[in-house]
């Protein structure tokens, strides 16, 4: 219980007025940065890194990291706002929120509940993750280090497996969309050979067909076109949802029913985040997939099911906390934002790693305590802002449509400062509209674009390391277990179908989204 005493000391540091002020400032800035399209936690922290140098000099390195981390937490909460209200993802792990967040906000007219659900889930997920961080940082870090390319590949396969058939009436169409997504993901710089692939000599295409411009196009712009068509024929009316305490109560009631799911996703997300590399996105997709697999009413997913918001968001925020594990205990950043925070540590004259706990305990524990405080602050701020934010949904189509298109274009440009991404967004928007009309499911396409590249790279890394022996996927226990679960999940629908064929005709037609 040594950690407990240290944590109390940490709260003493985190709650000092100066630190509290900077934490609040960081959280507010983070919220703004998160809402701004294209700017996410990573770029937000990076932009303010130079300022942190002065903060570290005038106050202390602890204040500086509390400030920067505050931006990160704020951005995590803020990033979901555009996903839910505009169908535009700010960060890769906010993609899973599109599937149900936007439908709940717009189609069901409950933007308040959608937002509150994600904020509540964020907070609960992060709370569980921070407890794990407090007491198990070192152990988890050691386990995470053992995860090699084969295991990561297996995790990605598992993510795919849980998502198969996502919102699809026709498995063939879903498979086609996955294949199309993998093809798009293959374009660009081949990280294993260090050479261009399918770029046709275009240097700009080396960045590949990024999933953010694609997703912004498919969901943001594609949805806007479709929605306007509906509005033109008079299908979509103004949303007259009342916003306020009622939403919060409804959300809390929903949370009560799903508490185990949210907590479990917090723990899963935490572990995924602690893996060096890219855990958060896979974590949020897996969270979504699991929520869907476990749910009794699968048909509700994709139409605004609250579990579909809470599960991925809890996992995503928890993995942001998890990313601090390798950073603090080993000096290895678990995420891009972790890398920027680590850069900060170097600049302030600290060496990240286990010695931090011994040489600068006030720094480490002050920081850990600030995660609790920071999330609580963010939670309070965002909840009070929900009614205001939800009002956006009452803006008429004529104003909202150009606004969404502007945000989409700015967002895709800001990401890499590339005009090509803007072009991709617009093309994806048109393609997305067409796919929607043809009743092709978009979710499998997006998942393949988001995870395709990482899956391929880990597969090839594993095979290089084993000199081409496929047995590497079964000799590693973690990989073997994940692949076995994946195989079971893949086979389950067929087993299920074989058992009860009669339900097929009764299935309601799912919206293609």
């Amino acid at each position: 219980m040594d950690a407990f005493g240290s944590l109390l000391g940490g709260f003493g540091t985190a709650l000092q007025p100066t630190n509290l002020v900077f934490l609040l400032a960081g959280v507010l800035l983070g919220l703004i940065i998160g809402v701004l399209p294209g700017l996410g936690g990573t770029s937000g922290v990076a932009i303010l890194l130079p300022i942190s140098v002065f903060i570290a000099r005038d106050n202390s390195a602890t204040t500086a990291i509390i400030f920067l981390a505050g931006i990160y937490w704020g951005a995590l909460f803020g990033g979901v706002i555009t996903s839910i209200l505009f169908n535009i993802p700010g960060e890769p792990w906010a993609v899973a929120l599109l599937f149900d967040g936007y439908p709940l906000a717009r189609r069901r007219g409950k933007p308040g509940v959608a937002l509150a659900s994600s904020f509540v889930a964020s907070w609960v997920g992060a709370f569980f993750a921070t407890i794990l961080l407090t007491f198990l940082a070192k152990t988890i870090a050691d386990i995470a280090l053992q995860f090699g390319p084969a295991d990561l590949f297996a995790i990605f396969v598992l993510s795919f497996a849980t998502l198969i058939g996502l919102g699809a009436e026709s498995p063939i169409k879903a498979v086609m969309m996955v294949a199309f997504g993998l093809l798009l993901a293959a374009v660009g710089f081949d990280r294993i050979t260090g050479e261009p692939r399918l770029t046709f000599g275009q240097v700009e295409l080396l960045n590949g067909i990024g999933f953010v411009p694609v997703t912004i196009g498919l969901f943001g712009i594609g949805e806007v076109i479709a929605a306007n068509e509906e509005a033109a024929i008079g299908a979509a009316g103004a949303i007259a949802a009342k916003v306020g305490l009622k939403d919060l109560l409804e959300t809390l009631a929903a949370l009560k029913q799903r508490f185990l799911l949210v907590a479990a996703n917090g723990i899963i997300g935490f572990f995924f985040g602690s893996l060096p590399g890219h855990g958060a996105t896979a974590g949020s997709f897996l969270g979504y997939g699991l929520a869907r697999q476990w749910s009794k009413n699968k048909e509700e997913f994709g139409k605004g099911e609250i579990s579909g918001i809470m599960a991925p968001q809890a996992a995503a925020d928890a993995s942001a906390v998890g990313a601090m594990v390798p950073l603090l205990s080993l000096g290895v950043p678990g995420s891009p934002t972790g890398a920027v925070l680590m850069a900060g540590l170097f600049i302030w004259g600290l060496v990240p790693g286990p010695l931090l706990f011994i040489q600068h305990p006030e720094f480490v524990w002050g920081f850990i305590a600030s995660i609790y405080v920071g999330h609580f602050l963010t939670f309070l701020i965002t909840l009070t802002a929900v009614p205001l934010l939800a009002l956006i949904m009452r803006v008429p189509h004529g104003v909202l449509t150009p606004l969404i298109i502007i945000i989409s274009v700015i967002g895709s440009y800001t990401l890499n400062n590339s005009m090509l991404d803007v072009a991709i967004t617009i093309v994806a928007g048109v393609v997305g509209y067409w796919l929607r009309k043809m009743k092709y499911p978009l979710a499998p396409l997006v998942v393949a674009v988001v995870l395709g590249n990482a899956t391929e790279v880990e597969l090839r890394r594993a095979l290089i390391g084993s000199s081409g022996q496929w047995t590497v996927f079964f000799t590693s226990p973690a990989s073997a277990v994940f692949l076995a679960i994946a195989a079971l999940l893949l086979a389950w629908p067929f087993i299920g179908k074989a058992l009860q064929v009669r339900r097929v005709s009764a299935a309601p037609p799912a919206a293609a989204k």
Binding site: V21, A46, F54, G148, E195, L206, G208, I347, G353, Y413
Partner: protein, 353 residues
């Protein structure tokens, strides 16, 4: 309580304003480098010289994403320039990641004769241009300054039985060892291919990772079978200081034994692995066609950056080799590195001249 919260609110508002000004300057400058983007926070132009060299915000192009390889350096230098008011216009770090630097190079090369663009380099500056057969050469860029050389160390897992470079080489002659490094056909693989050739080992199974820190982590966890890396000191330090240690430096590819945190680590040369001339260059280049006055101006700015305490401390902490060069001296080193990388790329079939 009320007074407290009011003062908190006031300082908060101040901070938010200041920060938004800073970021507000950052984003428009990134998209359209017009004078209006300078906003209100730009310090006045110097009055000494007749025509100022810089008239609008400077873009400091970074070939990796935020937090990646050279990003930290560009941001640290920019921070020093800003805090010491070394430049009369805002200097804005702009990330142009992708294609192992190709996108940033392509962008910078097109700004011929424009002193408002700078680019921080890694050794991908030499390798990528060759491997991807880009339509320009490293020597087309204008060398501005070399600030430091980041050395390579030979690392093994803490439980490895190899104690010296010779143990490792003897084993590598028996069978293909799995090694890991940052990127493909870039500096880490260059090191391994040089070792391969110099010591006559079997070809290494080289696994490319995206970041130096992930490379070090893969070594620490035996992930993917990694047995050896050539991480920079800062990338392995944390894992080495862990208790119990997870990785261990065998030797340093330096002419003289390292000091500071790595005191006691021998040179690889002393163990028969004679590579002392290869480092990751932490340097700055400009677009082609800068004139002497512009080169001298930036050389002078980076001289002051190099003298700043923040930078000196950083160099010591990260065991960098201080080797400040500008002008002809910098160009000489760049020419040597261009030749070295061209030779290696040809030998390994990565490039056909």
């Amino acid at each position: 309580m009320k007074a407290m919260s009011r003062s908190v609110a006031r300082s908060l508002a101040l901070l938010v304003t200041v920060t938004l000004l800073a970021t507000g300057c950052a984003s428009p400058a990134a998209s359209s480098p017009t004078p209006s983007a300078a906003g209100s926070s730009a310090p006045p132009a110097p009055t000494a010289s007749a025509a100022p060299i810089l008239t609008r915000p400077v873009e400091f192009v970074i070939s990796t994403g935020p937090g990646g390889g050279s990003d930290l350096y560009a941001r640290l230098w920019t921070g020093i320039m800003t805090s010491q008011k070394l430049v009369n216009v805002p200097v804005v770090p702009v990330n142009k990641p992708g294609g192992a630097g190709a996108i940033a190079f392509q962008y910078t090369i097109s700004k011929i004769g424009d002193p408002h663009y700078l680019m921080v380099t890694l050794n991908s500056f030499f390798t990528t241009i060759l491997v991807q057969n880009l339509p320009f050469k490293s020597s087309d860029f204008t060398p501005i300054a070399v600030l430091a050389k980041d050395p390579f160390f030979l690392w093994v897992n803490a439980d490895s039985t190899w104690k010296t470079a010779q143990d490792f080489i003897a084993a590598a002659k028996e069978k293909s060892i799995t090694v890991a490094g940052t990127g493909s056909k870039q500096e880490d693989e260059v090191m391994f291919r040089r070792i391969e050739k110099l010591a006559g080992t079997k070809p290494f199974n080289y696994i490319p990772y995206d970041e130096g820190s992930t490379v070090a982590a893969s070594l620490a966890g035996h992930a993917g079978g990694t047995e050896v890396t050539v991480n920079n000191p800062s990338e392995g330090l944390g894992l080495w200081q862990a208790s119990p240690p997870k990785v261990r430096p065998i030797c340093a590819f330096l002419p003289d034994p390292p000091a500071g945190a790595f005191q006691g680590v021998p040179t690889c040369k002393s163990q028969g692995l004679d590579i002392t001339d290869y480092f990751n260059l932490r340097s700055v280049v400009g677009p082609p066609g800068l004139n002497d006055a512009q080169i001298a101006y930036w050389g002078d700015v980076f001289k002051k950056v190099n003298d700043a305490k923040e930078w000196k401390d950083f160099v010591t902490q990260n065991v960098l080799v201080a080797d400040f060069r500008t002008g002809a001296d910098a160009k000489k080193l760049f020419d040597e590195y261009t030749k070295l990388h061209t030779d290696i790329a040809i030998q390994n079939g990565w490039y056909n001249p």
